[in-house]
């Protein structure tokens, strides 16, 4: 009886999971692996027209990428986004979370939803909105700056301002998501601990450093892993707001892959970019996971 039941259960298990597994194998695993193979070929527009024009070229795509200044520009830009954007967004999210978690706050759910709202909006639509907000002459951002005496900034037209401009947008768009995760962690910090430190005369900053931050360190790590992964995947933001310009200052690695693959149809070279992107994300994630394990988190 029980053996029959077990066989039935196993059959049902496979039957229920196989459609999803088949889809994952067909549309996710297979293309990901195929990407590696594609990166060793010279698949281009000619090969798309006629497969006779396809050759195996070994590491040539990688070698040429390394020589390509635009690839390095995209790499540097992406790393800049990661290096500047991650601390900025994590700090912003933590600030918002602490504000919403404050025991003196009234109507908490209202503020929580308001701060989260940008995250669910359509990226392309809000990128269009921000393109106008950041307009040099008529933009609201420069208007607010002018009120405190800062001269207009050519946010999307100057190679020095374009990256901060996109980061402001990305920060606005995503901090709500991280805030929710921080909020959940903050709620596990015992109020008594904080209270005790306060009675001992510890100031706001001391309590943040010695009580709150240690308690939420694992979460901070999780949030930074997610943010780094997000920074590596910026595409629609430069596509809509700057088209990679000015002077290629906002070409990200994914934008470069898109142009290589779907604008110039060098699929072989594009696949090599994709694979390098994957290695970057993997490396960063592994480093962060190792840090997490050492810290005893997750």
């Amino acid at each position: 009886m029980s053996a029959v039941r077990r066989i039935r259960e196993a059959r049902a298990g496979w039957a229920m999971s196989s459609p999803a597994l088949a889809a994952i194998a067909l549309f996710f695993v297979f293309p990901a692996i195929a990407s590696l193979f594609l990166s060793f070929t010279d698949f281009d527009i000619y090969a798309l027209a006629n497969l006779d024009n396809l050759r195996f070229v070994g590491f040539q795509n990688y070698a040429r990428l390394i020589e390509n200044p635009l690839f390095w520009k995209a790499m540097t830009n992406t790393l800049l986004f990661v290096a500047v954007g991650t601390p900025f967004i994590v700090a912003l999210s933590l600030f918002a979370a602490m504000l919403v978690n404050s025991r003196w706050l009234k109507w908490r759910p209202l503020w929580r939803v308001a701060l989260f709202a940008p995250y669910v909006t359509t990226l392309v639509a809000t990128a269009v909105v921000w393109r106008y907000l950041l307009h040099t002459r008529y933009g609201l951002v420069n208007y607010l700056l002018s009120l405190i005496g800062i001269p207009p900034i050519d946010w999307l037209g100057s190679p020095n301002a374009s990256l901060p401009a996109i980061l402001i947008f990305v920060g606005w768009k995503t901090f709500g998501y991280n805030m929710i995760i921080f909020l959940a962690a903050l709620q596990t910090v015992p109020r008594e601990l904080d209270e005790a430190a306060r009675i001992d005369g510890a100031g706001w900053w001391t309590r943040l450093r010695h009580v709150t931050l240690p308690a939420i360190a694992p979460t901070a790590l999780l949030v930074s892993v997610l943010t780094v992964a997000g920074m590596f995947q910026l595409f629609a933001e430069p596509y809509v707001m700057t088209q990679g310009g000015p002077a290629q200052s906002t070409v990200t690695i994914l934008y470069f892959m898109y142009e290589e693959g779907f604008k110039w149809w060098n699929l072989g070279s594009g696949a090599a970019v994709a694979f390098l992107l994957f290695l970057c994300i993997l490396a960063v994630t592994l480093v962060q996971l190792r840090l997490a394990r050492r810290g005893g988190a997750i």
């Binding site: 059959r11 459609p19 527009i45 000619y46 027209a49 006779d52 024009n53 050759r55 002077a247 604008k263």
Partner: protein, 422 residues
């Protein structure tokens, strides 16, 4: 167990549905679709309405593509078998479209449309003995100059031979005063060096367009002339992005010549201060001994391969190229018509600002017709910029451009060997 199976079946049943969802919309039934770009796409509906298409003719739909995304849309359309019937294609993309078999050659019945056109433009669309597209509107690049600055230097217009031209630039620079230059050649734009090279008669590529010919004496002469303009401080070493507002700089005399196309005429009228409106003009490019050359530009109309009714498609192309339609098209867009009869009819030959474009188009030279050209010329400029900044000598720069071009053409050579390339 039955329910589980039903669950699975319903999931799997959804899979065959996919191609069905796929099929709806891929082809939108009867009617012709035209893909067009920017300004031209915006004016096409009005133009089509003015054509008086015969009763019973197919419905024509215009799908606009942004210029910045047009190239990738054409190729995605090809990859996805989603190309429409007719398309506006930039002349520099024709070689690529023909090489991958995306477009039909122009049939003999439509060859009459190519008469009365600028030879260099038609030549651009001739590949492997066949014409692949009908030029629709034309453009090219020539000099925009400050008449008042040249007058101050003692000239009515820029001389058309290199030696005289350079002498004039020296005097213009002197007249413009300290800190100013004579000509703007942004070091990140390839068009200026390319114009000089074409004027010098450089062939650019050799061996069935499978290798670079940048070490030819003609191209080296062009490189030397280009470099001397920077070395003699006639042109500032700047890239286009460093010039924040080209109109302001032109107006204040930072430079008195720059190279651009007919689209700039409207900008000049709009953006230059009123006091300068009668103080600028256009002139053909200089060459080693008289009028120089330029690359012909503009867009052509193509009929995509595998279309169901090529006859109807070519009929519509013919109607769009009719002189009356070309005139209307010029009025709607300001584009320069491909057919020369229309130039006279529209009064363009007597327009002092536009007429030099006709002269220049008569002295234009078709660029190498290989899909790799755009990337080659980009590499050419990267090397040329380094040469201007002192990293390469002229011979070294020429060799380096050849090396890069040969690498980009490696696949073409392999395909030529196998008989796979046009």
């Amino acid at each position: 167990m039955q329910v589980t199976r039903r669950q699975i079946t319903s999931a799997l049943a959804a899979l065959p549905l996919l191609p069905m969802i796929g099929s709806c919309g891929a082809q939108n039934g009867d009617g012709l679709t035209i893909w067009a770009m920017g300004n031209e796409a915006a004016s096409l509906p009005a133009l089509l309405k003015s054509l008086d298409l015969p009763a019973g003719a197919q419905n024509v739909t215009v799908q606009p593509l942004p210029w910045t995304a047009a190239h990738e849309k054409l190729l995605t359309g090809f990859a996805g078998n989603a190309l429409p019937t007719i398309g506006q294609v930039g002349n520099s993309w024709i070689a690529e479209m023909a090489a991958i078999g995306a477009i039909e050659p122009v049939p003999a019945s439509a060859h009459a449309l190519l008469d009365d056109q600028f030879a260099a433009v038609v030549d651009t669309n001739r590949i492997a003995g066949q014409t692949w597209a009908v030029p629709w509107y034309v453009d090219t690049r020539l000099q925009f100059y400050r008449k008042d600055m040249f007058a101050r230097a003692g000239y009515e217009a820029p001389p058309l031979d290199w030696a005289g031209w350079k002498a004039a630039l020296n005097r213009v620079k002197a007249a413009a005063g300290d800190g100013n230059y004579a000509v703007l050649l942004p070091v990140n734009e390839f068009e200026q060096l390319l114009t000089i090279a074409l004027s010098a008669g450089a062939r650019l590529l050799r061996d069935r367009n499978a290798r670079g010919a940048f070490s030819d004496p003609a191209f080296k002469a062009a490189l030397a002339f280009y470099k001397s303009l920077f070395d003699e401080k006639l042109a500032p070493v700047v890239s286009a992005t460093q010039i924040s507002n080209i109109w302001n700089e032109f107006a204040r005399g930072f430079f008195s010549i720059f190279t651009s196309g007919p689209w700039t005429i409207g900008d000049m009228k709009r953006r230059l201060p009123a006091a300068l409106q009668d103080k600028w003009g256009t002139a053909p490019n200089p060459g080693p001994n008289g009028v120089g050359s330029a690359a012909p530009g503009g867009s052509s109309l193509v009929v995509f391969a595998g279309t169901k009714s090529p006859d109807a498609a070519w009929d519509l192309v013919a109607r769009l190229l009719a002189p009356s339609a070309q005139l209307k098209f010029h009025q709607l867009t300001g584009d320069l018509p491909a057919r020369r009869a229309v130039w006279r009819e529209a009064g363009l030959v007597s327009d002092p600002v536009v007429a030099p474009f006709a002269t220049q188009l008569e002295h234009a030279t078709a660029l190498p017709k290989v899909p790799e050209w755009e990337r080659i010329v980009t590499e050419m400029q990267i090397v040329a910029e380094r040469m201007v900044r002192g990293q390469y000598g002229i011979d070294e720069a020429a060799a380096e451009i050849d090396r890069r071009a040969d690498r980009l053409l490696e696949k073409r050579r392999w395909m030529l060997d196998k008989g796979l390339a046009l």
